[in-house]
């Protein structure tokens, strides 16, 4: 089965530390995250979640989680900013 992130990593093997988490932003409307360590904040304007060694904050409007599982998060809404700490 084709996995976007696996394919991307194969092509960029020179870079290190790619195992932490994967995040993809689709047209600022959907964010898909693999490898999160837990939801921290959920509101219409901010969604924050932990990652290995930090946390990611997504800011926007009418945000909600399309899907939440132990390892993945799918965030939908009008995404304005994604910050990683």
């Amino acid at each position: 089965m084709f996995n976007f992130f696996d394919e991307l990593k194969k092509n960029m093997q020179k870079l290190e530390k790619l195992e932490n988490f994967n995040l993809i932003n689709l047209s600022n409307k959907i964010i898909y995250v693999e490898g999160h360590r837990g939801l921290v904040t959920l509101s219409k304007d901010i969604v924050a979640f932990k990652i290995k060694g930090g946390r990611v904050v997504v800011e926007g409007q009418d945000l909600f989680l399309v899907e939440l599982s132990e390892n993945t998060i799918k965030i939908s809404g009008v995404i304005k900013k994604v910050e990683s700490f």
Binding site: G38, L39, V40, T41, L42, S43, K44, F64, L65, V66, E67, L68, S69, E70
Partner: protein, 370 residues
Amino acid sequence: MLGETYFLIKGLNVEKNLNVLAKEIPIYEIRRIEKNLTSFKVPYKWRGQTKKKLEGLGYNIVEEKNYGFLPKFLQIFLNFGAIFAILLAFILYFFQSPYILQYEILGTNTLSEKEIVEFIKDNFSQNKNNLTLSDIENSLYQNFSEISFVSVIVKGQTLIVNLKEKLLPEEIYGEFSPIYSNFDGKIKEINLISGISQVSVGEYVNKGDVLVEPFYLDSEGNLQKVEADAEITMEVYRSAEITHFDTRIERVRTGDFCVMDEIKLFGLTIYENSSNCDFALSESVVENRDLVKNNLLPFKLQRTIIYELEEKVVNESFESAKEKIIENAREIALENCQDCATIIDEFFTINHQSGSTTLKYTIVEEILQK
């Protein structure tokens, strides 16, 4: 997805508990509506577990809704269970309605209801479409002599047999034919059961004579039909005659013979071995034998043995052959007996004529005719 459940919960610190929940249950469309109000969806099959966990975590479930085919189907099934049951009953009724499930026998007095039901079950189908009621009626009437009237109807899934047993004596219902004599003989005893006797004790009758007529006289002197029934004991005479000639010509075998063999297959002669037989007088004996035991090629041997005969003049007086003649005549007479155990008398008469003597041996047999 067959169905999903929407939860609206009230409580704080949702993020932490959603993480716990997400480890076991897939969660969709999570929205923070207000600070203490959060909504999400879970698959329908996980609703029970989710609810239990939320209550365990101290959340107040404000709203719970089910979506999709499975919840609706289950809801309809639970809410309209009575309708389902009625539909099911209709379906079951539709499939089993063509069959007879119950038997009801009316009007039995001496007959057993069980016996009649078993007779119908054994001889007729339980499918109403394959039943011909007139056949059941005829069959019951013919097989149960106690029945004088029977009618059969099907009402719903019940087969109702309405019958009337005979009230009059059995002899009233018979075939109205007279009793004929089966033998030539003398009437010894008559035990009349029903009908009018046409013979009396001591009377000689011939075979075919009417013994009892199928009538009786009622109180007004009219002839009424009734089954002729009587026990008539007859003395029947069985006779055999042998004529003895003092001088006679007998043909005896000389001892010469010749053999002719034919081998046949399917009736066609395929081999023949014949010798010349120029006998003036002869008699032949034919034997057939199978040459092989299988039926593939059924070869058969037909052997004809021709014996030469000669004529001899025999002079023998009646007195010298008397015992032998009596014995032979008795054997012939015994062959005509119906039941030799009922022999009550036997005798013989001798009639001498010029050159010949006729011996007539008679056995008197007692026969009970019904």
